[in-house]
């Protein structure tokens, strides 16, 4: 028994003495280590904010900042350094970006990335001096658009975050979020879920229509205005009388619009690009087309997808395109895939056979653009055949 007690006492005493010595050592070294770690952390911050002093971590939980901002440090003179995580071309990038008190980028550097081309290592130099207003105008690097656009987006987030931390307010919503918010505000009954409607009639000054997924109604877009319309065509948003009349008229046309399938097998000369055609009550035609872009005609070396581009077009009986949209495509990501952007396909709106070629081609995607144009040209042929002119 005595032996056991002695064992316990000795071992406990040894532990206690060692613990005491460690406490003393810690008391001496802890402040030095803390100072060193702070200096090491500041060194990384100084890279993007030369001359910065007294960096202090900011508690982000108190602010609604862009989601890319993961860490923020305030600086003595009113500037901030942000650590941002953003998706690039592959696994994403971690970027440090300094913003001074006047809202200008003092420096940006990519800490880690899995990008393929390495442009993220040098792109930071081009954003120095940019402000929240000017950053969007910076060029991306051709061939590394995704990487550099994501980088630029992250820098913009840092600039916006600096404004928010400085007490200002800024809209940090993405374009999709803004659209969703506008649609919900116009038609709260839509529950926030909407799908774009292909306009099958010639409408005055209506640029887009969205249908609520729960069939509660529609939202008509006219210029900057989002106007809610219930399923019976009554305008439910508070808008000016003029706009109410305009939307109300458009809604009536759309509700009355019916389409009738056309049996294309009856037309032997119908081009193969035209997959289906419908005639609307007002005499317009809706065509579903397929275009042989890079996916079909691209060099085998680049391993093209083997898929057509599918296009929907509304044209008048006189052969004028009212609306055009890309339904689906599998063109080369980042190059020919731009044919799915509204910027590209809406160029055909209002075009006729005489001028449909006068559009801006997709940069670096001649095969895609030419295939698309060929399919569009068949719209005019098809209208002529259906109207019995050909």
């Amino acid at each position: 028994m005595n032996k056991n007690v002695k064992n316990i006492v000795v071992l406990t005493s040894v532990c206690a003495v060692v613990a005491l010595l460690l406490a003393v050592t810690n008391y001496i070294t802890a402040p030095i280590i803390a100072k060193q770690q702070e200096a090491a952390a500041n060194e990384a911050l100084l890279v993007v904010m030369p001359g910065g002093e007294d960096f202090a971590a900011v508690d982000l939980s108190a602010y609604a900042l862009p989601a890319t901002v993961t860490e923020a440090y305030s600086e003595k003179n009113g500037g901030y350094v942000f650590k941002l995580t953003t998706a690039g071309y592959s696994s994403g990038m971690v970027i440090m970006c300094g913003v001074d008190a006047s809202g200008k980028v003092t420096g940006a550097t990519c800490l880690s990335s899995g990008e393929t081309l390495g442009y993220e290592k040098t792109y930071g130099d081009t954003v120095v001096g940019a402000t929240a207003d000017s950053v969007d105008a910076l060029d991306t690097v051709g061939g590394a658009t995704k990487t550099t656009a994501a980088y630029r987006g992250a820098v913009k987030d840092a600039l916006n975050a600096a404004i928010i931390l400085g007490g200002g307010s800024v809209d940090i919503r993405s374009e999709e979020e803004i659209l969703a918010d506008n649609l919900t505000a116009a038609l709260p009954a839509g529950d926030g879920k909407f799908t774009s409607v292909f306009i099958t009639e010639e409408l005055n000054d209506i640029s887009a229509i969205y249908a609520a997924d729960n069939c509660a109604g529609y939202v008509y877009v006219s210029g900057e205005h989002f106007v809610g319309v219930d399923k019976d065509g009554n305008v439910v948003s508070e808008v000016s009388e003029e706009l109410r009349t305009k939307v109300s008229d458009a809604a009536k046309i759309m509700l009355a619009s019916t389409t009738e399938d056309i049996d294309l097998s009856a037309y032997a000369d119908m081009p193969s690009q035209v997959l289906s055609a419908k005639k609307t009550a007002s005499g317009n035609y809706v065509f579903e087309l397929r275009a042989a872009g890079f996916g079909i005609n691209g060099s085998a070396y680049y391993n093209p997808s083997g898929e057509y581009i599918y296009i929907r077009v509304l044209a008048t009986a006189a052969g004028k395109i009212i609306a055009c949209e890309t339904v689906s495509q599998k063109e080369t990501d980042g190059v020919g895939s731009a044919c799915a952007n509204a910027d590209f396909y809406t160029q055909f709106n209002g075009k006729e056979e005489s001028n449909y070629k006068e559009i801006d081609a997709i940069s670096g995607a001649t095969v895609t653009t030419n295939g698309y144009k060929t399919a569009i040209s068949k719209v005019f042929t098809a209208v002529k055949i259906l109207e019995g002119e050909a």
């Binding site: 460690l22 050592t25 070294t29 090491a40």
Partner: protein, 231 residues
Amino acid sequence: MQKNSNASVLLRGLLLENPVFVLILGTCPTLATTTTVIGALSMGLAAMAVLICSNAVISLLRKVIPDGVRIPCYIVIIAGFVTMVQMFVQAFLPEIYELLGVYLALITVNCIILGRAEMFASKNTVGKSVLDGVGMGLGFTLALLAMATVREVLGSGSFAGIALPFFSTHTISFFVKAPGGMLVYGVMIAIVTKLTHGKAPKKKSFACAGCPSAAMCNASACETSAVKEDN
């Protein structure tokens, strides 16, 4: 030289009982930290500091610590000193701290230190134990330095970070990798065995005596394997 004279205690760690090349202790840090001369030197000195301190304290407490709890006591003392060294290195030599990484903390389980505590410090006076710590520490440091010199010069073409003419343009990266470390280690052991031929302690003579568990163990397992190896 008398077997237990101060001079012999100090010197035997250098070659005759070199912990790395003769006793084959501390192999893990030996292979891991000998890719650079600076790393090897830092590791050697850190281990030496812990060895001297733990030897001194364990020798001082050798009559106080009961047999039944001596191993836990030794480990607490050694771990305490290692943590102290770690804190000081982190505070005052942060670059070395980064360089050694986890191997600094692993000095705690370095067999050289526990081995010397058990084999020497627990049976000798404080003065002799300190001398043993210095000797063994120097032996460990010099062994690491010798290996690191070969590996860094051949593998990286530099010595202590300074690029050497000819070598820097003809590097053999094999030497800074694990297999290169093994090769150099083996060759060094062969050289030391040749140099100390007949004088170094036989494996049998320190096999069981040097084992921290010898007192608790019935020795049959060890002896059987020792006999097999001798055959």
